[in-house]
């Protein structure tokens, strides 16, 4: 790793190579080293409680994030650039199908491992990582519910991220009440004919593969099926690219279906199984998004810690003030609790615990809310500087805000939790 770092600094410094290599400490390498040092040597340390393999995976993801995402993330955010090439590089390391089986090129890791990876990657770039996580959710969905033919046809290109996938559940008129969706798919010979629209689709217009929940039967969840729709299918068009507060390194567009004919062979799972498929995929998706929140919060907290140590007011470093010290301690505690909840929920999903969805809901609710607050308070600790784009915190704040809304909003998480609590025993 050090080789890579020193190498890049050598390229920057041209003729001064010799001095720099021999001293092993250039400005560039110092900043990268400090970065790594900060992420792992701050309380709460994200590697606490992990075994050697997990640490190795986390470290590798972190190195990749620091080298490939962090230097570009501000630019991608400002220019709304969708970094397909870097995602392909990530996929070469196995990040394109983290929990997809090996026969189609997946990494066959656990949800727990995936959460570690998303947390590490998002410490550099929440937006890009969140997209990778959605793509993983889709690939995992096809791996779990697709038939052999579908798996072999689509997954090899998805795990390499040569093609990327989008998840399409939400409609303009159907959000939290997802079972009320109205995009219709009517069988006509060996095709389904789709009419309707999907809203807020991450990757919409750029992704090659869309997993679309459509109504093939009567009202309610039982009438919903999951169809795989390819980008260039006639009758599928896209809305304008949405202007958003955050998540700018991934495009969001609406999907519009007008007599769009999709082969019946693209039905994922059984007819009428779509809602259950969608919800099961979301369970994993919620952990992923929660993990992305953790990474953003950790990076913000590190930035705040570093800032209060150098910022001087009233003749001293503001880290000497107890108000600041206690604030830092509170933020660290909230982050630690959030992380434990996400990881514990991921473990329940790995163990196929029938109660997992409730614990995932609580973890997602808590982690995404707390992480956003941590970003906000970290920004506050920066004072006016935190509001500037020269500092990274505002980007993490903007990017993690949407995590309280998507993959099931805060309200839906509360609904799932309380419903389970109030169930008749």
């Amino acid at each position: 790793m050090l080789g890579r770092i020193v190498k890049s600094s050598i390229q920057n410094n041209g003729g001064l190579n010799r001095i720099f290599t021999s001293s092993l400490s250039t400005n560039t390498s110092i900043s990268v080293i400090c970065n790594k040092r900060s992420f792992l040597n701050i309380v709460p340390d994200p590697s606490v409680g992990l075994n050697e393999d997990q640490k190795q995976i986390q470290q590798m993801a972190l190195d990749f994030a620091n080298d490939k995402l962090l230097p570009n993330a501000p630019k991608w955010d400002q220019e709304q650039f969708f970094p397909r090439e870097v995602m392909k590089e990530a996929a070469q390391l196995g990040f394109g199908g983290i929990y997809v089986k090996e026969d189609v090129g997946g990494s066959a890791l656990s949800r727990f491992d995936a959460a570690l990876i998303f947390e590490a990657l998002s410490s550099a770039d929440v937006s890009t990582t969140a997209f990778i996580s959605i793509h993983n959710m889709c690939a995992g969905l096809i791996d779990t519910y697709g038939n052999e033919e579908q798996r072999q046809k689509y997954l090899p290109d998805l795990v390499t991220m040569e093609k990327v996938a989008s998840y399409c559940l939400t409609e303009p008129g159907s959000g939290s009440d997802a079972a009320s969706l109205s995009t219709k798919a009517v069988r006509d010979g060996d095709h389904f004919v789709l009419n309707g629209s999907k809203a807020f689709i991450s990757g919409g217009g750029d992704s090659e593969v869309y997993l679309v929940m459509v109504r093939t039967g009567g009202p309610g969840p039982k009438g919903i099926s999951c169809l795989l729709v390819e980008k260039d299918t006639p009758g599928l068009s896209f809305g304008k690219k949405e202007e958003k507060l955050g998540w700018n390194s991934q495009p969001t567009r609406a999907l519009i279906f007008e007599d769009c004919r999709v082969p019946c062979a693209n039905l994922i799972g059984k007819e009428g199984q779509g809602f259950s498929i969608a919800m099961n995929a979301l369970n994993g998706g919620r952990i992923n998004i929660g993990a992305c929140s953790l990474g953003g919060a950790q990076a913000s907290l590190v930035a705040a810690r570093d800032h209060v140590k150098v910022r001087k007011q009233f003749g001293q470093s503001i880290s000497n003030f107890q108000a600041i010290q206690f604030k830092l301690a509170d933020l660290a505690t909230q982050l630690y609790a959030s992380r434990l909840m996400i990881r514990s929920a991921a473990q329940m999903l790995d163990e196929k615990d029938p109660q997992a969805h409730v614990y995932i809901a609580m973890a997602k609710l808590f982690a995404c809310d707390q992480a956003f607050k941590i970003c906000d308070e970290s920004l506050q600790l920066h004072g006016g500087y935190g509001y500037l784009k020269d500092y990274p915190v505002e980007r993490y704040l903007r990017d993690t805000r949407v995590h309280r809304i998507l993959e099931g909003s805060d309200a839906v998480m509360r609904l799932l939790t309380s419903r389970e609590m109030l169930k008749d025993l």
């Binding site: 790793m1 190498k7 190579n17 792992l40 050697e52 393999d53 190795q56 590798m60």
Partner: protein, 250 residues
């Protein structure tokens, strides 16, 4: 062709170094450990030679306590084929390491040994040279480029020296110690990290190899470097020149 790559588990380059209160050494308790960066470059180079079809087998070797196995796993994840650990809890100095490597090399007969030029913990930069002496093999240190001849019986090594670059040609078997510019190590792929977990490692002890560990090197005291004292400000170029002269820097 078989390549040996010795790898050492050291305190991670990014970890904060603390000296033990009794000055007996550096505190490694709860400190992040990783593969010596120079050794990572050595592994990368060996794996590249294998990928080019020049080498057949890359054997990563480490020495020390059982925890050192993790650097073998990392090496396997990058592409080494085998991992050997010489297990001992005793302190190892360069001469002991060189003697243990000598024994391994005499039985396993590698065609090439590529190793980091130094470990970033004690910065000795001695093992490769000592090993070459013990084995009576040619050596090229601080390599920035390695080219194996087509007949695979010699190697051309470009090395970094004070005056610039020097190119040496050696007959194989030989020993090469590598510098940072030799290559840029890859990231281990997730799949390879998982595969590396399943590889059976070979464990040996210094006794197995019949090596008496050299214990005539004692650490007397380890201390933190002196804190940097503040500099002084100068106002004119003449002041700078005078000041530099005063400190005999020019």
């Amino acid at each position: 062709m078989k390549i040996f790559v010795p790898v050492k588990r050291v305190i991670d380059y990014a970890a904060k170094i603390r000296v033990r209160p009794d000055k007996s050494g550096v505190d490694t308790n709860g400190v992040r450990m990783s593969t010596n960066p120079f050794d990572e470059i050595a592994i990368e180079e060996a794996v590249r030679l294998k990928e080019k079809g020049i080498a057949k087998e890359v054997v990563a070797i480490t020495m020390g306590p059982k925890a050192s196995e993790e650097v073998l796993r990392s090496s396997l994840a990058i592409g080494a084929d085998q991992g050997v650990i010489v297990n001992t809890d005793k302190p190892l100095n360069p001469l002991s390491v060189a003697k243990l490597l000598q024994k391994l090399a005499e039985t396993e007969k590698p065609n090439l040994i590529i190793m980091g030029k130094q470990a970033i913990d004690d910065d000795c930069n001695q093992t490769a040279q000592m090993l070459a002496g013990l084995l009576k093999w040619p050596q090229a240190t601080f390599a920035s480029k390695i080219e194996i001849s087509e007949s695979k019986d010699s190697v051309k090594v470009t090395r970094e020296i004070d005056g610039g670059l020097e190119t040496l040609s050696m007959k194989l078997p030989a020993i090469i110690s590598c510098d940072l510019r030799l290559n840029e190590p890859r990231y281990a792929k997730l799949a390879n990290i998982m595969k590396a977990k399943k590889v059976q490692l070979t464990t040996k002890t210094p006794e197995d190899l019949g090596v008496q560990l050299n214990e005539n090197l004692k650490i007397v005291s380890v201390e933190e470097p002196a804190k940097r004292s503040g500099g002084s400000k100068v106002t004119t170029v003449d002041d700078i020149v005078a000041s530099l002269k005063k400190h005999s820097l020019i």
